[in-house]
């Protein structure tokens, strides 16, 4: 779909943004959304919200399960090495959860932009 896009230099954009940031803050927008009024397609946005929400919920549940599994593993590790489980295991798991989430969230955003 063809769209008109305003072309500005990076410096101009930075300056414009600074100015709009300042006015937004000063105008105390009680009861109003401090957004530019450009229309968004509400149905599309609705779909994006739902997909992102489902993804976020899934990541949160995965985190819960991962922590529960870690707790179980640490408690039931035989002998003296319960600490080693807590030392080595958690961080790679947490990193993987976050990285996978971010990749999927960006994919949803990319698809949103495609059918835009």
């Amino acid at each position: 779909m063809n769209q008109r896009v305003r072309v500005t230099s990076p410096q101009t954009r930075l300056a414009l943004r600074r100015r709009s940031d300042a006015t937004r803050r000063l105008s105390r927008l009680a009861g109003h959304t401090p957004v530019d009024r450009s229309a968004i397609d509400l149905d599309d946005a609705e779909r994006a919200l739902r997909r992102q929400r489902r993804l976020a919920a899934r990541t949160a549940i995965a985190l819960l399960l991962a922590l529960a599994a870690l707790l179980t593993a640490a408690v039931f590790t035989p002998g003296r090495l319960g600490w080693a489980v807590l030392f080595f295991a958690p961080y790679p798991i947490l990193l993987a959860l976050a990285a996978i989430h971010v990749r999927r969230a960006e994919k949803i955003e990319a698809e949103y932009c495609e059918d835009d």
Partner: protein
């Protein structure tokens, strides 16, 4: 004296970097969010630098010696929080275009009253968090140089507040990034040396704590309450959910260019935290072997080097650790003070830059005054409360505000009130009342397990259905729409966008 010299060196370097980074903070956006021009890599370093506080550098090892290996759950929770930040908060929060959590509340709920309420909650959380930082500065200075505790605390307050009042967020970003590197180097470096220099018997004893004791059990027991699993889960809930609601961390995500960058910064922070949290454990395990009968366990990392290698090598290592601990104090307290000043002036009184600076000074004075009598409370206990309050207030506010259109100002107000009152009340009660160790004492000392669900339920129940105005619904939708339509999101149209090559224009690029 060597320790004092190392601390002075870190301090001097911080001032130099701060001055280099000032570049005249003139407006409120400059001061609070560095006019949104911080590069993501620096920002991740700065978040980690600010987040790895005295609680991680000193408190974690101290608690490990005192309570056992279960203390490692604190580190796990501190890091796990960033999975939630990446998943639930970072991107949409950035798109809201708000500077602070109270700003976001006003954007989303359209009520100036709720903004002031959030400002108050920010004050509570930040003060609870600042206290142990000043305590840490005091004990470190006392240990390495013999300066009395109160002089150390007051001096640290003077240094930090003047640096922040002059520089603001931009200088804080580079200084905090530098502090992350200092902390990692000065905690990890000596730890490696200590592992190498410790006698084989000691190393063996540290790696193999005697089994079937309370100490070697990987659960957190609080003062022998007899319910370690309950206490562990509650600490985990507080630290994981609390990280999401910490105002000074949330504020940091507004300093990157867009929602996409904000999310990625959260992932980088996990990497940086994972790198760091391995090392306090080393001090804890070695401390268990070398200094098992300590009263004030918060100084364990400073004593372990001397116990393992007496003499000048030990003194040098101690000085490095002291400098690392002091860097932790500096970076965290400056970030906290910025958020506190934001809460005081920006959200509560609505303010100019001079008020913001005044806010920094007032905040420091409050924190210093409160930390003088707090010298015998464990650092991690205090920090745990700050996390519990954040988890019971801003975590539900942000989660529901971002993902559920039904949240109304009434619901949010009720939930914030309930969450703030129950969590701070429980923490206070656990100090004031002298309870028998048991389920009740655990649930008062670590209240997150019940206060967080309570706050969520209150917010949902008190939000009247059907009274959501159209603009509020649109405000939520905009948080999840990528690209130029959303507020404050200056770029980040994903690369997959299929623009015909001849129409591809600069206006939608990443940077801004």
């Amino acid at each position: 004296m060597l320790g004092l010299a190392a601390i002075s060196l870190v301090l001097a370097a911080s001032v130099v970097i701060g001055v280099w980074g000032v570049r005249a903070a003139r407006s409120t956006p400059d001061f609070l969010v560095a006019s949104r021009s911080i590069v993501p890599g620096w920002n991740a370093l700065a978040i980690a630098g600010e987040y790895v506080s005295a609680a991680s550098v000193l408190g974690l090892a101290g608690l490990l010696v005192k309570n056992g290996v279960g203390a490692m759950w604190y580190a796990v929770g501190f890091t796990a929080g960033y999975v939630l930040v990446a998943a639930l908060a970072a991107g949409p929060m950035r798109r809201s275009g708000a500077y602070t959590v109270p700003d976001f509340a006003e954007y989303r709920l359209g009520s100036p009253r709720i903004r002031r309420m959030c400002g108050l909650v920010v004050l509570v959380i930040m003060l609870l968090y600042l206290l142990p930082q000043f305590k840490a500065a005091g004990v470190v200075l006392e240990l390495v140089s013999g300066i009395p505790y109160w002089i150390g605390v007051v001096g640290a307050g003077l240094v930090v507040s003047s640096a922040i009042a002059v520089g603001g967020m931009r200088s804080a970003t580079y200084v905090q990034a530098f502090h992350y590197l200092v902390k990692l180097a000065f905690i990890a470096g000596p730890a490696v040396f200590l592992i190498a220099l410790a006698s084989p018997e000691r190393r063996d004893a540290a790696l193999n704590p005697s089994p079937h004791t309370d100490w070697s059990r990987p659960l957190l027991d609080l003062d022998g309450s007899g319910h370690p699993l309950l206490a562990t889960i509650s600490v985990l809930v507080a630290t994981t959910l609390g990280a999401m609601g910490l105002p000074h961390v949330v504020m940091r995500f507004h300093t990157v260019a867009g929602a996409r960058a904000a999310r990625r910064v959260a992932v980088s922070v996990i990497v940086l935290l994972s790198l760091f949290y391995l090392w306090p454990v080393v001090y804890g395990l070695l401390g268990r072997v070398t200094t098992p009968t300590l009263e004030e366990t918060d100084v364990v990392p400073l004593l372990v080097p001397g116990a393992i290698v007496p003499g000048s090598v030990g003194a040098v290592l101690t000085a490095l650790v002291a400098a690392g601990a002091f860097a932790a104090f500096l970076s965290t307290s400056s970030g906290l003070l910025l958020a506190l000043a934001g809460g005081l002036s920006h959200d509560l009184f609505g303010g100019s830059l001079s008020r913001l600076r005044l806010g920094v000074v007032v905040g420091t004075a409050l924190a210093v005054a409160l930390s003088l009598p707090a010298s015998d409370v464990d650092i991690n206990v205090l920090v745990g409360w700050a996390f519990a309050v954040a988890a019971s207030t801003f975590c539900p506010l942000l989660t529901l505000g971002i993902w559920w259109r039904g949240l109304t100002a009434t619901g949010a107000t009720a939930g914030l009130l309930v969450g703030a009152c129950t969590s701070t009340g429980a923490a206070l009660a656990s100090v004031v009342l002298d309870l028998e160790p048991g389920v009740v004492s655990v649930l008062l000392a670590q209240p997150a397990l019940w206060t967080v669900p309570l706050a969520f339920v209150t917010m949902i129940a008190a939000s009247r259905p059907g009274s959501v105005p159209n603009w509020a619904s649109e405000a939520v939708l905009r948080l999840h729409v990528p690209g130029r339509y959303s507020t404050g999101d200056t770029g980040a149209i994903p690369r997959a966008r299929r623009t015909p090559p001849d129409k591809r224009v600069d206006a939608t690029d990443e940077t801004g």
